[in-house]
Symmetry: C2
Subunit: 275 residues, 2 copies
């Protein structure tokens, strides 16, 4: 998927919502446990219910891996089921020496190898350029690089001062030399105006994947006001607040209501701030 | 496995060798491709041939993931086959928000969930304390935290100055507050004396997992001379130089010769520097 295709989808749906498929076997409605593949059955119903209101799906790979080979089978079926117009994100936070990152890239981008064909993957920057570049060698695929995450531990290293900037700003700057806004997005868990100002000075054009609206507590209006650029430039993720909105036979209907409510809010902010 | 048990195994075998199981379906001998599970068959023969000369095995998870569910099945069989006296390391370089890191911990440490029962897992520090702590909640399991890696990209961020220290030194210092040398080891790709001196000032007691002897080009004597402490404190990894020493019917025999040669060298350095 290209930058332009993503932006056009956002305009068409009036939404920049990403639905996080953090599908936990311990949390899904009990009646699904009687189906042959409860994880996939849950995802399928969530996707059917929410596809009109979001532009992206983000399976969190840990939830599938934790179930071993059968979790990977559920993941394969899920990625095949996600409509092609949606940006699919493997939230995997991988990163290793070049040789190994090349294999992680095959894992998520080469269906002839792993059975998975994601549009993008989240990558950790700690190991530097040669740990990220193998992911960029796959045409039409995206790297979503961790910059500033939304968890308390982000203060431990990401916000340390490195010369005149924070480490996460240094990550933004250095990675500019690896590829452009047509190939890299960033995970940015910022909510404050001052932070977004600094970030948008460094990367005015890039898409930002913003976690933490909903269960992690971010504020959608602030994120939109301070983070948006002229091509929207935002994908805002909500996981638990949507997929676990209900816990009974009507769970998909409840998820639809939550996704729809977020889309309606986003429609307002697109009108107001995307310019 | 405890710190003491690991040290005793090192003394008994006169070896601190870790064999990296970077098993690539494209690189293993052709005759194995006719077996039902070529990856496992390769690993089994490598383990049989090298077990007496090493104290640890380190499957690199990317190589298994890249093959999808059948890769995970090969990994499960491999981890079951590794003798219990060897420290098993899931080289996965994971790290995510607490909730998700908890699931990665289950992936590698909880066989009732994933079928895998590793002794340790490599973890990336970028997301800070709450991304690492869920791994430490599993009794008798180890976190091996990335500090200084051996790839060229380590210069991009790990060696940046943060106040008076490099980022990787800051990682060493900060993580001291999370757990002690009985629960955390570090990936340290250093080879220079001056670097090891600084590192050993911060973490005199911890075990270091040193990559890059062999194909990645480190020097075993320097690593041993500058990195060893009174409990050895080193696990030195070799992957490709051992497992791909041969590429025919005698590949396991060739691997054995390489592992044995490294063990004999290590025996000398243990006598010389472990004091």
């Amino acid at each position: 998927m290209t930058y332009k295709e993503l932006y056009q989808q956002i305009l068409r749906k009036k939404s920049y919502l990403c639905v996080g498929l953090d599908t936990d076997i311990r949390k899904i409605p009990a009646h699904l446990l009687r189906t042959p593949d409860p994880i996939f059955e849950f995802n399928k119903q969530i996707i059917d219910a929410t596809a009109d209101f979001c532009v992206s799906y983000k399976p969190n790979i840990a939830f599938y891996e934790a179930l071993g080979p059968k979790g990977w089978e559920s993941l394969q079926k899920t990625i095949e089921y996600i409509p092609k117009e949606h940006l699919s994100i493997a939230d995997a936070k991988r990163g290793d020496i070049g040789n190994t990152s090349g294999l992680y890239a095959r894992t998520f981008f080469d269906p002839s190898s792993s059975g998975l064909d994601f549009d993008s993957v989240t990558v950790a920057p700690y190991m530097g350029s040669d740990s990220v570049k193998p992911f960029l060698e796959f045409e039409n695929k995206w790297v979503i690089l961790l910059a500033l995450t939304s968890n308390p531990g982000s203060a431990d290293f990401q916000r340390l001062n490195v010369g005149n900037a924070s480490l996460f700003e240094e990550v933004l700057k250095t990675s500019q030399t690896w590829a452009g806004s047509d190939r890299i997005m960033y995970v940015v868990g910022a909510t404050q105006a001052s932070e977004f100002e600094k970030i948008r000075q460094i990367i005015p054009d890039h898409f930002l994947l913003v976690p933490g609206v909903g269960a992690q507590g971010g504020n959608l209006e602030e994120v939109s006001r301070f983070g948006m650029n002229t091509s929207c430039g935002l994908l805002v993720n909500a996981s638990r607040s949507i997929i676990y909105a209900g816990n009974d036979y009507d769970f998909a209907q409840k998820a639809k209501q939550e996704a729809s409510a977020l889309q309606q809010e986003m429609e307002i902010y697109l009108d107001k701030y995307c310019n």
